[in-house]
Symmetry: C2
Subunit: 353 residues, 2 copies
């Protein structure tokens, strides 16, 4: 088993990564009297029984969401709250998020707000949530006017990553997770980029050892960044590489049309194009980025018909905006990124015309 | 001007208390580019213009709620979120809560969750919110199945208390605020109880000097408790004296029938009756409590027709419940209270039969 510790003082917690972890009840750090599992109708038939059997508890209930980003709403948040209250879920109970980013984000936000705070653990079942959204305590629901606009910072008590669950993940979802994996390499680790290039086939074959190393590496990078900057005052914003463009794509298309990771992939290429325009990346480096994304079947262009003017309204309400100025995470060299706050409309127009 | 500092490390903030404070723009600690004032349709006609003129800012908008506890809902929370997004309110803007506990609680919760956290200041316009709900960072909305069930701990940047606004407060609302004032005396300060007995007439006449001292004293007591125990792991629960019974009254009647303070007044008498039954208070002390509450026109009995069995379902989902056991704040002597966790159904039935 790989263990990555997220160091946040009294809110510290471990991320445990192993094949067959859901067969190991001893992986749980502590017991609770009342447990509610929140999952969706795709994941539950596959893993709910395993997860239930982790807990020896008299009071255990399950709430299932419909599958998909379209259900990460304030309305579903309200339905879960009603369910918890109907089942007299106490503040000292445990919520379990069993699913991908949608389930993890909404469950975490429920845990943040239920009676002003209950415990929860993350059991991420997609590659994307294993390497990114389950770690670090960002929780939220979407609003029709913007993604993740309503949320909280709420750290889980534990993250359990069973890498075997990736065997049932649709290949399109696996690819979307690879976008976030590649993101880590572009933020701060050119060696990791080479590792991914060299192991593309074994990764796609879900080789247990390579996948374990890859997931651990991403979790460790994220844990380090979150430990430095839990509430995104600075460094943590780097994790948004590709996300400013990506969120605009998701919002413009309507949530759920493209997967989050697909939008991030196209967004990273757009960010890299801005960097190339500024002389920070070469054409060859841009080509390497596009090639790796494409080997995992990821898009490297915005959706058909979406022009730069369509991005603007969404990017101007991005959470990174400060004092009215858009802020982008851009590669300033290959395997090195920074938050840049002097990109303006005309520069974007000239690059993406 | 009285200033009470709430000491919470980097989340510390001042509570400033003075007559005519809303005429003094220099009372603001810092400036913002974008301000949104949230108020209600009763308070806005009286004080919105004064508050607007505190801010010299290009972007200032106002969102008005209907007046009343019935609107402290997840639905209204969603409406405010939509309003903020429609007005492109940035994460580095300022929300201003201008009103009583309902406006303060919902605005604080919006501030906690909007883009995972924005700044806000409290301008409480009721006695209850001045002495209690505007201080300490408890924010929430109600759910049909329980009061304040959805919320967060979110400290404001500043609390501005203009005691002149009490002149326009309906007398029933003033009395409800006095219930929370009397609560502080019963929690931990028998001398303050005597002060209130001696100054009943000057308090009711809104004598500026006595009111200023009284509000400052309550804010100081609350600030001290919150500084020790921000998220209510222990000591802070004492502030819930009368609230376990009181919340049941509000929920059973339907929110808004009785004012929160009225329910707390009747709840404190119920708590005092349990204490007397246990030999912690004398009949004479109980009579003193009832007499002071009645001098301010507050109820000392539950609503007509509400029997102890009606309280049970609400008290069993109270946020203080731990490991399935109800917990009550009870006076264990006159001017001294504790959290007690061995009160059971049969004891309550025998006292309130």
């Amino acid at each position: 088993m790989h263990r990555v510790q997220v160091e946040l003082g009294e809110r510290s917690y471990p991320i445990d990564i192993a094949p067959s972890l859901l067969q190991q009840p001893e992986c749980l750090l502590r017991t609770y009297r009342h447990v509610i599992i929140i999952s969706n109708d795709t994941v539950a038939p596959l893993y709910l029984e395993s997860v239930k059997s982790l807990f020896e508890v008299s009071q255990l209930h399950t709430f299932l969401l419909p599958d998909g980003e379209a259900y990460k709403t304030l309305e579903q948040f309200g339905h879960i709250m009603t369910f918890l209250l109907e089942h007299k879920f106490p503040r000292d109970g445990l919520l379990v998020a069993l699913g991908g980013g949608v389930v993890g984000d909404i469950t975490g936000f429920v845990a943040a707000c239920y009676q002003r705070g209950a415990d929860f653990i993350q059991i991420p079942t997609t590659l994307l949530s294993q390497v990114d959204s389950s770690v670090g305590g960002k929780t939220a629901v979407n609003h029709p006017l913007g993604k993740n606009m309503i949320g909280a910072f709420k750290q889980p008590q534990q993250v359990l990553i069973d890498t075997d669950v990736l065997t049932t993940l649709p290949s399109r979802e696996f690819a979307a997770g690879m976008a976030e994996v590649i993101k880590y390499a572009l933020i701060a680790d050119a060696d990791f980029f080479s590792f991914l290039e060299q192991h593309t086939s074994t990764i796609q074959a879900l080789d247990s050892e390579v996948i374990g190393r890859m997931v651990q590496h991403c979790c460790q990078m994220k844990a380090d960044i979150v430990a430095m900057d839990e509430t995104e005052q600075g460094q943590r914003a780097l994790l948004n590489l590709g996300h400013t463009f990506g969120h605009a794509i998701e919002a413009w298309l309507g949530y759920g049309r493209w997967l989050h990771g697909e939008a991030v992939a196209a967004g990273m290429v757009m960010a890299a194009r801005v960097s190339m325009h500024r002389g920070w990346l070469t054409q060859a480096e841009l080509d390497r980025i596009c090639a790796l994304l494409q080997r995992f079947g990821l898009p490297i262009e915005p959706p058909e018909g979406m022009v730069i003017a369509d991005f603007m309204p969404f990017m101007k309400t991005d959470k990174k905006v400060r004092a009215g100025q858009m802020r982008f995470v851009l590669p300033t060299a290959f395997g090195y990124s920074k938050v840049i706050d002097d990109v303006n409309d005309s520069e974007l127009q000239s690059i993406f015309a």
